[in-house]
């Protein structure tokens, strides 16, 4: 089985600072493999362990993205493909087009895995776009994947239910973090990851004649969340009911 995992080298959201104007300080911020992408890599390695084959990690990124690539290789992936371009300077459609072109070039793949969204921008658009661009079925938000012969049974973690679907291979699947617990590469695996093959591709070679990517809206602000600071007073049996009613009115209780 040939498995591809699309990953992103992203700003470490746990280290992100916001300036006094509410603007995230992206320049010089620490970076790492996008958090949920580790789950996608882990799932690919589990599929490989169960069905044999090869795991190829594909990313669109600056040279710094090689760090993420090496991490995925240290976890156990066999090969890396880096499309040299800055995903933060292009729209998700162009990122998806580049990934799709790289996947076509290195394919065919039986399973293409992504995470549900990157931990920096979290648009969640790339996986369905990949399905569309490659003409493959797309199954989103997988919490369990069972590949059986030429099809896959996938449990999708939806907001308040789990949907089980079956789709033929090849397919694109995005995974949620509860699908697995990503492994830690051992130090020896980290040291050896640099020796694994890594292919460099350029946007010009993959998409000759493509125009400039769609311009990005400039500027992002951290969402300001004001607490409502509602206090219910009275005996517990009364305040508990008031609390439940208030939460229901806010629409935050499960249906």
């Amino acid at each position: 089985m040939k498995i591809a995992v699309c990953v992103k080298h992203a700003v470490d959201e746990t280290e992100l600072k916001v300036d006094s104007g509410g603007n995230p300080q992206l320049k010089g911020a620490p970076t790492k493999m996008s958090t949920f992408d580790k789950n996608a890599v882990e799932e690919a390695l589990r599929l490989k362990a169960a069905h044999q084959g090869e795991v190829v990690v594909v990313t669109v990124g600056t040279p710094e993205a090689k760090k993420t690539m090496k991490e995925a290789l240290a976890m156990g992936a066999d090969k890396g493909v880096l499309v040299s371009a800055d995903p933060m300077a292009m729209d998700t459609r162009r990122t998806s087009e580049l990934l799709a072109a790289a996947l076509k070039k290195g394919g065919p793949y039986d399973v293409i895995l992504c995470s549900e969204g990157s931990s920096d921008m979290y648009s969640g658009l790339v996986p369905p776009m990949l399905g569309e661009l490659l003409g493959l079925p797309y199954v989103g938000y997988a919490k369990k994947i069972d590949v059986n012969g030429q099809s896959a049974k996938v449990e999708r973690a939806l907001e308040d239910s789990v949907e089980v679907v079956e789709a033929p291979l090849p397919l694109v699947v995005s995974v949620v973090s509860e699908i697995n617990e990503p492994r830690y590469p051992t130090l020896i695996q980290i040291m050896q990851a640099g020796k694994k093959p890594m292919e460099d591709l350029t946007p010009e070679a993959l998409l000759p004649g493509a125009g400039p990517p769609m311009p990005l809206v400039k500027g992002m602000k951290a969402q300001a969340m004001a607490r409502k600071r509602v206090v219910f007073e009275g005996p517990p049996e009364e305040t508990a009911k008031k609390l439940v009613d208030a939460l229901a009115a806010e629409g935050v209780l499960p249906r």
Binding site: T14, E15, P30, K67, K70, E71, A74, Y184, P185, T186, L187, I188, I190, M191, G194
Partner: protein, 389 residues
């Protein structure tokens, strides 16, 4: 703040301009492991609710102990400073596991340096992979720093040695698979490998300690403990020299461990000072608290540089014994000052909460263990005065 912090990254960039990226990858991965698998368990390891053996095994499997050893025995062949930085991080995450691991690795280093080829082949891969845990058995009930008064003996009979006597305050006692034992022979102090179990080796009760409560410490008793003559490490009569060498190196590591302990006490203090309010403002706004914060930070960074400096001299093959002693004296006493300030900043909560005072309790061991501050000052001064002759 991540355990592998921006400070560590800068230090690697400064000391290793050509290789810092590789070393940072190793350390940040190890830091992420410690943050998730050890740091949250640390309070429960201190309280005795969780045994440290499981997390320690997982850490050794990750490759923590492989860092400074040759690749032919399963090591990574990385500089000693990288290992020292990993120890600092482990000191931050879980100090008593760090103590146990530090002793384990000191034994591995001793075998790598003084063991025969056969001993290295037989034991180093097992020690570096975490299959075996090691213990360093030197101190005795009536002899600590004064190793010349050792009462444990090893008598050669045929193709074997018989070891008799007892050792005290032994870390990893009863848990280890391999004991590096120092005993007197006709030619003087000598060093032996004793594999557990051995019918001639028994262990006392786990001693109740002020801190470092996760690590097991007890007496080890040898009663006609027979080992093959092939278990003699190096040459008979050279044991004191070997012990000294192993301890010089371990002192750098203990210095790093204490920087790690001070670091977490400092970070907790910083967070608390920012949120605790008094007289209408956070206590971090008061100058006397700011003075403490500035002093804590400065001392931690100074101690880190001292252990790095000693590590780098060791890597270059120079005599680092005095610098290792300086690093240990300064770092262990510094961490007590920092942890004391942490208690002071936390006020009543500092005195009554394990989460604050356990760092002081952990740090308190190490002005005593592996060379007391007094003995190390003696060595530093002796070396300085000898320069005038």
């Amino acid at each position: 703040m991540p355990i592998y912090s921006a400070e560590h990254r800068r230090l690697m960039e400064t000391f290793y301009p050509d290789h810092h990226q590789e070393y940072s990858e190793v350390l940040s991965s190890l830091g992420a492991f410690m943050e998730k698998e050890l740091l949250p368990l640390s309070p429960r390891i201190d309280s005795g609710e969780v045994k440290m053996a499981g997390p320690r095994k997982a850490l050794l499997k990750q490759g923590m102990c492989q860092i400074p050893f040759p690749e032919e025995y399963g090591g990574l062949g990385l500089p000693f400073s990288v290992y020292a930085a990993a120890i600092e991080m482990l000191g931050t995450a879980e100090a008593s596991t760090c103590l146990s691991v530090e002793i384990h690795n000191a034994v591995a280093e001793g075998l790598d340096k003084f063991g025969t080829d056969a001993q290295k082949r037989a034991y180093l891969p097992k020690l570096l992979s975490g299959e075996f845990l090691a213990s360093f058995t030197l101190t005795e009930p009536a002899s600590g720093s004064d190793a010349g008064t050792m009462a444990t003996t090893a008598e050669k009979r045929g193709g074997e040695y018989s070891i008799n006597g007892s050792k005290m305050f032994i870390t990893n006692a009863g848990e280890a698979d391999l004991y590096l034992v120092f005993a007197e022979t006709k030619k003087g102090p000598s060093c032996f490998i004793v594999e557990a179990p051995n019918p001639g080796m028994s262990f006392g009760e786990d001693l109740r300690k002020l801190g470092m409560r996760g690590s097991r410490t007890s007496e080890v008793v040898f009663s006609n403990c027979r080992v093959p003559e092939g278990n003699l490490v190096g040459e008979e009569g050279k044991g004191a020299d070997y012990a000294k060498e192993i301890l010089h190196s371990a002192r750098i590591i203990v210095a790093a461990l204490n920087v790690g302990i001070a670091q977490i006490a400092y970070e907790k203090s910083l967070a608390y000072a920012r949120q605790r309010r008094a007289f209408g403002k956070t206590i971090s706004e008061f100058q006397l608290i700011r003075e403490k914060i500035a002093d804590m930070k400065t001392e931690i960074d100074a101690a880190r540089l001292l252990y790095f400096y000693a590590s780098r001299i060791k890597e270059s093959g120079g005599d680092y014994s005095s610098e290792a002693s300086q690093a240990k004296v300064f770092s262990t006493e510094m961490s007590l000052r920092v942890c004391d300030s942490a208690i002071q900043i936390h006020g009543g909560y500092g005195y009554t909460t394990d989460e604050v005072h356990r760092h002081w309790r952990d740090a308190r061991l190490l002005t005593i263990g592996e060379g007391t501050s007094e003995v190390l000052r003696m060595l530093i001064a002796r070396r300085e005065l000898a320069k005038l002759r």
